[in-house]
């Protein structure tokens, strides 16, 4: 598109698109209810076991994510030295075609590549009161000193999978090849998923900005 010729036209169109977007976001104030439930899980204190907060968490923008899944193989290259999306600590592939719900009767308007193109990547929330830690019978999940990430001690882990069941975001996964569980380590403070994302859809967000970012993300998913 030649920029000179199209500039005026584009400006007009852009403002319309922008307005529509803002309107949609406003309507998404129904998202207030949604975000309440999200944050409820996120800061769940039912087990009353609090931990020092992580420096931040990794979040995927469902609008910018194009589903290339480079994050998954970058994650396991760094953490495991192999290509293994099934145990990736960031989960995009499982929601790629049909979103979190899987195919429904109305899949063509649902999330995913066969739907409205929304790709919902799941990431670890490094929860304040982590269900994974509370569920682990071996006390194998500890708080990393450098990043505050909740990480698995491979020597202690017995691969029982209770952390995987406990996590509301389906992040921890028992590696069928090592029989040890895996979860997001924040890659020593430079998450490789975010570093390698070709659309900048993955961000490592400081803890104080997390709540806002999660609410915004939820609105985008709901609005689609």
């Amino acid at each position: 598109m030649s920029k000179e010729n199209e500039e005026d036209k584009n400006f007009m169109q852009r403002s319309t698109t922008r307005r529509e977007f803002l309107k949609k976001s406003f309507e998404g104030a129904a998202g207030a209810a949604v975000s309440f439930s999200i944050l409820n899980l996120f800061t769940d204190s039912a087990e009353a076991q609090g931990f020092e907060l992580a420096d931040g968490i990794v979040i995927v923008d469902p609008v910018k994510c194009t589903g290339c899944r480079r994050c998954e193989t970058n994650c396991t290259a760094f953490n495991d030295g192999k290509a293994h999306p099934y145990i990736s600590r960031i989960k995009v592939g499982q929601n790629y075609n049909f979103g979190k719900t899987g195919p429904t009767i109305n899949y063509q308007n649902g999330d995913g590549q066969l739907g409205d193109f929304t790709i919902v990547g799941e990431t670890c929330r490094q929860c304040e009161s982590p269900r994974c830690i509370n569920a682990c019978p071996m006390d194998a999940i500890y708080v990393d000193e450098k990043t505050g990430a909740r990480v698995i001690d491979k020597d202690s882990c017995v691969g029982c999978g209770r952390c995987a069941v406990a996590c509301p975001y389906d992040v921890p996964t028992v590696d069928p090849e090592t029989e040890k569980s895996t979860k997001c380590t924040l890659c020593e403070g430079e998450p490789s998923c975010a570093a390698g994302c070709p659309t900048g859809a993955i961000r490592y967000i400081a803890w104080e900005d997390v709540e806002h970012a999660l609410i915004e993300r939820e609105k985008l998913i709901e609005n689609n």
Partner: protein
């Protein structure tokens, strides 16, 4: 293959006639790498010549390679090999698809899936790692590809990757596809699955793909590729002037610029300024929508998309509410010919909007039916038959009058709804448009003018059209268009020629890569054939088959150039060998890997010789239709401003290519010496037994 990494190590064999499911070691095929190479070797060994594509004896091979699934950029291609129903002699050929299917196959533990026989009733193949079963597909039979995919994911889990056929494949339409993830299609083999009563393959894989290299080296190599990668087709300059760029070229697919947006995204996403060093913006470089669907598409673009592992997002995902009135979903995704095919069918459109609707509606319908268009040829065939009054002669009057030609005359998108249903369900005589050009021309008795009119764009009497041929560096593109049994899916040469760099720089790089700057000409200002062009053509073909064997995307590799001024725009042609070595642990040089590619290409040639029953490839196979030599009557070949070729020069070009490949310079058939040299003594013996080695007769 315990001593090597990269490969999964096993090949899955499913015999649909007996229901037997077994595995074998990939190691047996390692000299043929994977993908296309494994496909050819299995077809050579196991499918006798004179087999009909739809016979139970035909096989179909879905194959990945050692790079597939490793996460190396652009490594998610699936290569499918079988006999080609649309080829008038049913010669061997490949269809290819991107998406997420072959990586999932690797994660399930298989380098390839070989389908044999024919199921007594419709089935689908369910693969969950080592648990493999044939399932009843009676409820799926008759469904489109989208619903089939959704149904199988519903049964297997949302993470399943599915390859399926639609109604066109079920009805054994020659021009039909196998499709995965809703928008990645392999053209030409849908009917093979249909003939075998195999509706779909669903895969869930939970295992890893290992690489031999130390993870630090592996990550470094990936980061290096991310630093020299360009835009789609490895275009390395932007399409408009950019603050970071020394050059620009309007035909480049590096379209990112300020003011160009994914206009239908739910938040503001500007493609913006994407300098090469910003690797977190690589995915915005190519907004293919505006190339394929016009500027109008900007406001409809939800996002770009594409294959697993690829940072270049060449598929356009658009939301077109108007499509709902035609009874299809408003969400459409595809790229290139996936949209353009429908322009060729409905060329009489009145407005740009109608053209946009034709392309998007056509893609939606065709991707659900699983229709293939022979690289745009189907639409041109329809136009030829209609414009020349042939349809009135060959269609029964009742059928002719039932087709809404008034909509065709107006280029109304609604026409596609009618036409595509007829082809997919093989309703009436008109459905023979789906037979393929050569078979259609014979059936409807097209004249010589059909083949020789440049506007019909045919290339070969085998019924396939031009695909980066004489318009792409004269003899080089022409030679590349001669070797396969369908349109070549080769972009090795095209990517380089279209890089966007100035010709002087391109010539310098050509000299470094193929020994002389004469390997390339100024576009449409050609010089006679020379040795460097033959080397360039050979190299392009060899890299193409390597890519389809490893599997690496030939729309991005080889990376001869880069967008980096500090590298003087040089890319790196050793990347494939580096990747192969790091992934497998089998250390090969660039030259050694190219020789493996030559082996695979030579096996394709040997199979073609065996199937055609003649060594005379030059005259029986490597033929070009007349317009290529007779176009632009006011100009001579090698005049400035024409892509017209010279007949004698083209024969000389064939000779030189045959010599470069070690094929007989006279006939173009593989020689016994070359087969020995490439370690294919068994192929040599079989050809000798059939009297099909050059010099024998």
């Amino acid at each position: 293959m315990p001593q090597y990494k990269g490969w999964a190590g096993e090949i899955l064999r499913v015999n649909l006639s007996t229901g037997s499911i077994s595995t074998e070691k990939t190691a047996k095929y390692k000299d043929y790498i994977g993908g296309m190479g494994i496909g050819y070797r299995i077809m050579w060994d196991e499918v006798p010549e004179n087999t009909d594509p739809f016979d139970e004896e035909n096989k179909i091979v879905f194959a990945a390679g050692p790079l597939t699934g490793t996460g190396a950029p652009c490594t998610a291609r699936t290569n499918i090999t079988s006999l080609l129903p649309a080829n008038p002699q049913n010669l061997i050929g490949d269809s290819h698809m991107g998406g997420h299917f072959s990586p999932e196959m690797k994660y399930a533990g298989y380098d390839a899936i070989v389908i044999e026989g024919k199921a007594p009733r419709p089935v689908w193949l369910r693969i969950e790692d080592g648990n493999v079963s044939l399932e009843n597909a009676s409820k799926l039979w008759g469904q489109g590809i989208f619903d089939t995919t959704a149904n199988i994911a519903g049964m297997m889990g949302k993470e399943a990757q599915v390859a399926a056929i639609g109604q066109a494949g079920e009805n054994q339409v020659n021009l039909s596809t196998i499709m995965t993830s809703g928008n990645h299609s392999a053209g030409g083999h849908g009917g093979i699955m249909g003939s075998k009563n195999l509706k779909a393959i669903g895969i869930v894989g939970t295992q890893s793909v290992e690489y031999a290299a130390d993870k630090k080296d592996w990550i470094e190599l990936n980061e290096f590729v991310m630093s020299i990668i360009g835009a789609n087709n490895q275009h390395v300059v932007p399409s408009t002037p950019q603050p970071w760029a020394e050059y620009h070229d309007s035909s480049s697919r590096w379209t990112a610029q300020e003011g160009l947006y994914w206009g239908a995204a739910d938040e503001e996403v500007e493609t913006g300024i994407c300098p090469p060093e910003d690797t977190n913006k690589i995915g915005y470089r190519t907004m293919k929508a505006i190339k394929d669907l016009g500027e109008i598409s900007e406001d409809y673009t939800v996002r770009m998309g594409g294959c697993q592992s690829c940072p270049i997002r060449c598929h356009s995902s658009v939301e077109v509410p108007e499509l709902e009135k035609y009874g299809v979903s408003r969400y459409v995704s595809n790229t290139c010919m996936g949209f353009w095919n429908h322009y060729y069918v409905n060329q009489n459109y009145e407005t740009k909007k109608d053209n946009f609707l034709n392309k998007t509606l056509g893609a939606q319908l065709a991707d659900d039916y699983g229709l293939w268009f022979n690289y745009g040829q189907l639409g041109r065939d329809l136009k030829y038959a209609y414009d020349n009054g042939i349809l009135k002669e060959v269609l029964p009057a009742e059928e002719y009058n039932d087709i809404p030609w008034d909509l065709y005359e107006k280029g109304d998108p609604q026409f596609l709804v009618d036409l595509y249903r007829r082809i997919a369900y093989q309703e009436g005589e008109i459905s023979h448009l789906g037979d393929g050009a050569a078979q259609l021309a014979e059936r409807w008795n097209f004249g010589e003018d059909y083949w020789n009119d440049q506007t019909n764009s045919l290339w070969s009497p085998l019924g396939y059209p031009v695909h980066h041929a004489n318009e792409s560096n004269g003899q080089v593109g022409s030679l590349i268009n001669l070797v396969f049994n369908r349109d070549p899916m080769c972009h090795s040469h095209q990517n380089f020629l279209g890089s966007g760099l100035p010709i002087k720089l391109q010539k310098e790089i050509a000299a470094e890569t193929w020994g002389s700057e004469d390997a390339i000409d100024v576009p449409a200002n050609y010089t006679p054939m020379n040795r460097a062009k033959a080397r360039f053509a050979k190299w392009s073909l060899v890299r193409n088959v390597l890519h389809d064997s490893m599997t690496v995307c030939n729309w991005m590799f080889p990376m001869v150039t880069s967008p980096l001024k500090e590298r003087n725009y040089r890319g790196d042609t050793t990347l494939e060998a580096q990747y192969f070595s790091q992934a497998t642990g089998m250390n090969v040089s660039e030259k050694e890997l190219d020789e493996m590619g030559r082996r695979i290409l030579t096996l394709h040639r040997a199979m073609t010789v065996k199937q055609m029953g003649t060594v005379d490839m030059r005259n029986e196979h490597d033929q070009i239709v007349d317009w290529v030599f007779d176009m632009d009557p006011d100009k001579e070949p090698f005049d400035a401003g024409t892509i017209k070729m010279d007949r004698d020069d083209m024969e000389k070009a064939k000779t030189m290519l045959y010599q470069e490949l070690g094929w007989d310079p006279e006939t173009g058939a593989p020689t016994g010496e070359t087969l020995d040299e490439l370690g294919m003594q068994d192929v040599k013996r079989e050809l000798a037994n059939k009297n099909l080695l050059p010099y024998q007769a």
